[in-house]
Symmetry: C2
């Protein structure tokens, strides 16, 4: 009996209602064995209780340890799961992956896209080993090291501007009102902050394109189809000849700090020291500067 799925809402995993009975029974058996409630009723559905979460965490760790042992014996590299938001992943993390893997002794790396909030949970319960995450999305300063500070930039394709428009002109919010914009629509903090900033700058912000992620915003900017507000990460590689890039003043003080976040127990068990993690963070930051 291998803990069915170690975590998350019982039935939710497979669409098959067949297995549901099995899972129900297995949970009951586990509860008998451990003499404790592992689930909690929430309306008509079940979720894991504290004890259940702890057991799930424990089992995940144990399986992970066995897997690590197997890999090590087979001479294979260990593997780590690294999580981040979509844009951080694409713009910051992926370019750094080869260097990270090298530093971890050729480890196999798996990336995992998460929203900030669920990333914290994922790290806490060991589904994700490392995460690049906004500092304000993790509970405390512990188990994090700073990677970089991130600002926001107004990016306007020059084809959308009158010839001769300067960066200073572009800082004028009156101009913004006339531009077609692309913006995120994921309801995340960044998205919300941008819309809020626009409003407080007196702009009636009605993006022409509302995208699921900032990646698509950048593509639209590159295509010359619309302007957009991009984080520092996302302006790398944009052609200054084609796109006018200027700091987005309303969010000047909104600088987000990205940190590398990890679960201390996990890392100890898997043989990574804080010094290693600091090095990793530095490597990731370097990648951005290069």
């Amino acid at each position: 009996m291998q803990m069915a799925e170690a975590g998350s809402i019982a039935k939710a995993a497979p669409g098959k209602p067949n297995r549901q009975s099995q899972i129900s029974r297995q949970i009951r058996e586990l509860e008998q064995f451990f003499g404790t409630e592992l689930t909690r009723r929430k309306g008509k559905s079940l979720s894991l209780s504290n004890a259940g979460e702890r057991l799930a965490l424990l089992i995940r760790e144990q399986l992970q340890d066995l897997e690590d042992f197997r890999k090590e014996q087979a001479g294979l590299p260990k593997s780590f799961v690294i999580g981040a938001g979509a844009s951080v992943l694409e713009w910051l993390l992926v370019p750094a992956l080869p260097a990270i893997s090298r530093h971890l002794g050729g480890a196999t790396l798996m990336t995992d896209v998460h929203r900030s909030r669920s990333l914290g949970e994922a790290v806490r319960d060991g589904r994700v080993d490392l995460a690049i995450i906004r500092q304000d999305a993790v509970p405390k300063g512990a188990n994090t090291v700073l990677v970089m500070k991130m600002g926001f930039h107004l990016c306007v394709p020059r084809v959308l501007l009158k010839r001769g428009t300067t960066e200073r002109d572009a800082a004028n919010s009156a101009l913004w009102q006339t531009l077609p914009f692309a913006a995120g629509r994921d309801g995340g903090q960044t998205d919300t902050a941008i819309r809020e900033a626009m409003r407080s700058a007196g702009v009636d912000f009605r993006p022409h394109f509302e995208c699921g992620s900032m990646l698509q915003v950048r593509q639209l900017v590159e295509l010359g189809a619309s302007a957009g507000i991009l984080p520092t990460l996302g302006i790398r590689g944009l052609d200054e000849k084609k796109v006018l890039i200027t700091p987005f003043v309303p969010l000047r003080d909104f600088g987000r700090v990205l940190v590398l976040h990890w679960n201390p127990r996990q890392m100890r068990r898997r043989g990574l020291e804080t010094s290693d993690l600091k090095k990793l963070a530095a490597m990731i930051a370097d990648q951005q500067k290069a």
Copy 2:
């Protein structure tokens, strides 16, 4: 498949040759799964290879963790295995057990008698959580705290002495030659040292009683049947009116240091800090003084 017995020489465990085939097969399956040799041939018998030892350790830890979880959920106290040599256990540890248990939140304590040498191994591979052991029997100063220094004492029942014999008289090795002695015969370092010291004091040491442990030596002393050399621990409770007790000069500089020794991984996993362990050591030492 539950790892048959996690450790020690495969067949040695049960006297049943039936099961041996099973164990053999199970080891083969494990080796297939992990893609590595878990055993090493030594003549005609098998012993665990390094990988095997590591896996056994890992499994023991995992089972221990599950057991801890179960106990915690059931509101039961955790349990710890404390090891020591027979005399240390009897004279030093057992009296301190109630206080130790109290300090560990009412933990269940299991004692385990070991020779010094195997104690170190037992701690290292997690069969024993805590040990009271001679400092020189553990590899380094790490993971230990001092409990007490131990000297040796010559103990002679007064019925074996002429009336009026003083402690000063008893320090004369010429007297010793005339006394019936009890001594250990366990071949341990302490035993050897005593015999060696006797010889270098010019005594032809031929104990009348050769005992499996110092506990029996003490009993013989109490009975008035023979003299004996007892460690500091062992003289507590001897009646000075009936037994003449005096430092055993030849071993004056042989003072043994007893330390509390633990496995750092174990303790971290099980929620004990170094400060707790220091306190335990102090409690054990206090017990002796009281």
